[in-house]
């Protein structure tokens, strides 16, 4: 069994690279994906998308680390970390977004922030 180090949760899910899921996936635990998911993901925890992963989905997560390929709308409650191996196409909404040099991103980004007065 592969156990993940997650800050605030002892249990974790893992979708290996030999697995393909079509449909909706929801939960409250940290999840690492190396395989393919098409559909919807609702996760009140940390979603880790590994390099081999291919995700084509509407995603609502608390925290995201993307090393792989994601197509779709991503809504993130805290931090979205797009690393250098990531390839994202779609919309990304998060209060904090990190995009590393080398990452590919095509689409729209919106961060929640307060506009200064008078604008």
């Amino acid at each position: 069994m592969k156990i993940l180090s997650s800050q605030n949760n002892t249990q974790a899910g893992f979708i290996g690279r030999g697995i393909e899921i079509k449909g909706s996936l929801s939960g409250e635990e940290a999840l690492t994906v190396e395989g393919k998911i098409t559909g919807e993901i609702y996760l009140g925890n940390h979603l880790r998308v590994e390099e081999s992963a291919e995700i084509n989905a509407n995603i609502e997560v608390e925290e995201l680390t993307a090393n792989g390929r994601i197509t779709g709308k991503i809504q993130c409650g805290s931090v979205a970390h797009i690393t250098q191996t990531a390839n994202i196409e779609g919309e990304l909404y998060a209060p904090r977004i990190i995009i590393e040099e080398g990452a590919r991103f095509n689409g729209r980004i919106e961060m929640d922030f307060e506009l200064p007065e008078g604008i």
């Binding site: 069994m1 592969k2 249990q11 974790a12 899910g13 893992f14 979708i15 290996g16 690279r17 030999g18 697995i19 393909e20 899921i21 079509k22 449909g23 909706s24 996936l25 929801s26 939960g27 409250e28 635990e29 999840l31 190396e34 395989g35 559909g39």
Partner: protein, 105 residues
């Protein structure tokens, strides 16, 4: 070889296809096609039609199973549905309701 784990809080509604072993602690509804071993743990809840190599049931399964090798319903296991498999093991204490067909290749 990695081992996929659907953890306690995860709920999947749809189709799972793959060729690596899969452990279910959470809930899966829909369809599973696995060219490997499927393990449904005690807290696991599966409502799906399945085509697998081998399945071991410690939790609750509703649906039809077509196993190429073996179906095991362990003592904590509960299964409602039809089974098609060349080998079947049902432990003392297991609950099963359905048809069994062992006349497969």
């Amino acid at each position: 070889m990695s081992n996929t784990i659907i953890g306690h809080t995860l709920v999947i509604d749809g189709e799972i296809v793959g060729d690596e072993s899969l452990t279910i602690l959470g809930t899966v509804k829909g369809k599973i096609e696995l060219n490997n071993t499927l393990l449904v743990e005690k807290e696991g809840n599966v409502e799906a039609d399945m085509i697998v190599n081998k399945i071991t049931i410690n939790g609750s399964v509703t649906g039809n199973i077509h196993a190429h090798e073996k179906v095991e319903i362990q003592e904590a296991g509960q299964m409602v549905g039809d089974i098609k498999s060349p080998r079947i093991f049902i432990a003392d204490g297991a609950v099963f309701k359905g048809q069994i067909d062992m006349d497969v290749d």
